[in-house]
Symmetry: C2
Subunit: 493 residues, 2 copies
């Protein structure tokens, strides 16, 4: 029974446990214990063992006992001893025997050649140098208490920087006291909805209206919390807010007003006002998912609906599109009446988002680096959008790209009935992307038509041109035109 662990080796620069229990002489037990440690890989090849005198003192054994054990293990080939280099674990020892290697990870689809799935920024553009400089400043300036248990709201430095930024750049009525930092949009939804049997008690009860096209995992979070979701129709002016007023019995509505996801239009001004009026009149709540509001390329960018009714709107954002999903920082700007409930759901012990990253992001924003990065990326994504639109105009003029004034994706409108085969043709061209159908609420009554949702932010800069070429080959031909002459769209087409 492996008990009586002994701390062998602070002096080899690392901790190691050697089991000295069990039957037999001290010498035999030590030999077995060291051999097991080498065999298991706990003592790596090349590791230098402590001098036998020190180990003997540490373990309370006679020096001879340890010296004999070392000699035996050298004789057996487990250890090597050389003048001046001390006693080391032999390099030729077989590679460590891992505890039963588990079966390989569950199979995932092979990575496609071109990823045009929406939702992630160009990972190659993460501003590593500027981020590290901000980290150096932020960690240098942070008070000691920053490294202790945190405020469940998040670091005040970040909440202040966010309040300034969101007020200035997104027209949000933000106050640091009403901001709660979280690890992303999904975490925010969980904090708001997770039911009493779930993670900390639900703040909001259903049912909730959602746009009839959106991200399925948002709906899943609400529904797994026992919140029924009701789809809201979409037309060219965005979500049909009038359906709320017409008697949908819902507690609130989840919207993407700046850039409807995925169809891409902004919510019409009259509807922006109408949804706030609706919420004020009936005590409803608007959840505003501002997932890519910083990225708009043409005139008339759209500010946050939250600015129209800060006491009826929860504004939700994150750095997942603007910077990187690897940072895991998001935020809620809450109506005053929800702050305490959300903090209670979060709990004192659930700071979730790394405080080190929070401090770094606060500096990154306050020093202007965040604005600079967004401007740089906006320019880059605008250029990608333009290349896509130009290529379509020149070579597939029967396909219209919509939702292109903003965001990180476009919707290519397809002839009716061709979406599924276009997605397949794209896969055949090595492209990963989704059709509009993938985002449809199961209860949606008005289909948005056929279309491909093309995330142009995801490929790296050098791969983008080839990705667009491949996409062009996957598009359905215009009416009256034959299929692709070279048959490259494959047998499924």
């Amino acid at each position: 029974m492996p008990e009586s662990w002994v701390n062998l080796a602070e002096r080899i620069g690392s901790d190691l446990h050697v089991d000295l229990s069990g039957p037999g002489s001290r010498r035999a037990v030590l030999i077995r214990a060291l051999r097991d440690a080498v065999r298991d890989g706990r003592l790596a090849p090349g590791t230098r063992l402590p001098p036998y005198r020190s180990l003997a003192a540490d373990l309370g054994l006679a020096r001879n006992t340890v010296a004999d054990a070392y000699a035996e293990l050298v004789a057996e080939g487990w250890l090597t001893a050389r003048q001046g280099s001390g006693t080391r674990v032999a390099e030729r020892v077989a590679s460590p025997k891992r505890p039963r290697t588990p079966k390989p990870a569950p199979a995932r689809p092979a990575a496609p050649a071109y990823n045009l799935r929406q939702g992630t920024p160009d990972a190659a553009s993460f501003p590593r140098t500027a981020w590290l400089a901000a980290a150096r400043r932020a960690l240098g300036a942070a008070p000691n208490e920053a490294f202790g248990p945190g405020d469940p709201r998040g670091r005040v430095e970040l909440r202040r920087a966010l309040a300034d930024y969101l007020t200035r750049a997104r027209g949000v009525r933000a106050d640091p006291e009403r901001i709660v930092v979280c690890s992303g949009f999904a975490h925010a939804l969980r904090l708001l909805f997770a039911g009493s049997r779930g993670a900390g008690g639900g703040v909001l009860r259903g049912p909730f209206a959602m746009e009839s096209y959106g991200l399925g995992f948002h709906r899943e979070i609400l529904e797994s919390s026992g919140v029924r979701t009701v789809p809201l129709g979409l037309d060219e002016q965005g979500a049909r807010i009038e359906e709320l007023a017409r008697g949908l019995k819902v507690r609130g509505v989840l919207l993407t007003p700046a850039h409807q996801f995925p169809t891409g239009g902004p919510l019409h001004p009259s509807r922006r006002a109408a949804v706030v009026d609706w919420a004020r009149a009936g005590g409803g709540l608007v959840l505003e998912d501002d997932y890519d509001g910083e990225f708009r390329y043409d005139r008339e960018p759209v500010g946050a609906v939250q600015g129209l009714g800060p006491e009826r709107v929860v504004y939700l954002g994150s750095v997942s599109k603007s910077l990187s999903p690897a940072v895991r920082i998001g935020w809620m700007v809450l109506p005053e009446h929800l702050v305490d409930d959300v903090l209670a759901a979060k709990g004192e012990r659930e700071a979730w988002a790394s405080v080190l990253d929070q401090l770094t992001l606060a500096d990154f924003i306050a020093s202007g680096q965040y604005d600079r990065h967004i401007r740089r990326m906006r320019q880059r994504y605008r250029n990608r959008r333009d290349r896509l639109v130009t290529a379509l105009a020149e070579r597939a003029p029967h396909i219209t790209a919509t939702g292109i004034a903003a965001g990180l994706h476009a919707v290519l409108r397809l002839p009716p009935g061709t979406e599924a085969s276009a997605v397949k043709a794209a896969a055949w061209q090595g492209i990963a992307l989704d059709g509009l159908a993938a985002f449809r609420h199961p209860g949606a009554v008005m289909p948005a038509g056929d279309g491909l949702v093309v995330g142009y932010s995801t490929p790296s800069e050098h791969a983008y041109g080839a990705a667009v070429e491949a996409l062009l080959r996957a598009l359905p031909p215009s009416d009256g035109e034959a299929g692709p002459a070279d048959g490259e769209t494959g047998p499924d087409h």
Copy 2:
């Protein structure tokens, strides 16, 4: 209705929305919009406005219109214009009018002079320089894909570093494929238990046994997931594992084998074996909370129970005690049969722990800095423990400190019936700490006696001596001795 936002000012180095809708001439509307932006604080004092020509071009207005608006606002005192310095927001403008300031944060108790609550490391000892150096190396070496969407297991670099470290230092049978990175112990418990109405579907069902003294919020996480908890008795050999075998109908047991929390003893060797035997015999599961296993000061440190039965034990750890709770990184080493379920609960979109911190921690461990930090802190905490024990022996010899061979806290055993008044006396001395009663499971049948749980890791180094002095003043007198001569323990005593 604030619509038709216009992007004013990329060229002032930041984004700003100015509302140009509404009645009146273009000039009047622009004046009002800029005034509002200054008054709301969206344009901060000192901000330089774009030259009127550029702004006119941006907004599609006549140059005169913008020049007139600037002149008017300068006349009103909102802006200042100086040769060579351009037009700026006036410094004397009243501080921004925040949207309704919410009521102050809920009152919290004033910070005590000395924090002797258990559970957090010395925040002043966070290794800022070494951490930043690791971050620089890690972010420099990371592949681009690290900044994209992550593996729900966590970064492979970190899982590899953890597998090596845990195998070597804690006797864990770790394999990178069976490690799941999370944001801390509570997050791990939520992933394991959160019910189907909660965050992503529960992996484990109850009931579960727990030690009859422990952290209340662990119990709350299980019970809020619908998992009934059953207290397990404690004696001088740790949790009474024999109660499991004697027919407690539980699915598993949550234990702190290396250093029972809070009473401080290790689980007896025979019970370590017994709990694994129990789990093997009946398909039970052991959750091993190794919350401070790295910190042991005397002989015979205790390895992980997980090493005895990796397929029946979930090993749980984090950097919250070893490094800082601000880092928000923890880990589970899972039995093979639970890996897929836990990953499903976590979800592809829930990487939670910052990838930047994961990469940095991987380097911090692999480069030996983590071992070095732990050795340094072990020395520091051992010294604090020794000072406490010495002070007690000299000046309060009737009080015994127990659970002191390891960890970041000690339990001062008190005469029966004196705990509550000692906690009050400590508060009177400006000390925050808890009595044993604060950790008692409501169903516990065997009380652990009276005691103070003294976290000696929390104060900063320079405050520690004064904290111990204050603590000595708060301790109950020995039998036959009068109360503290100076009456400093206050009126409640």
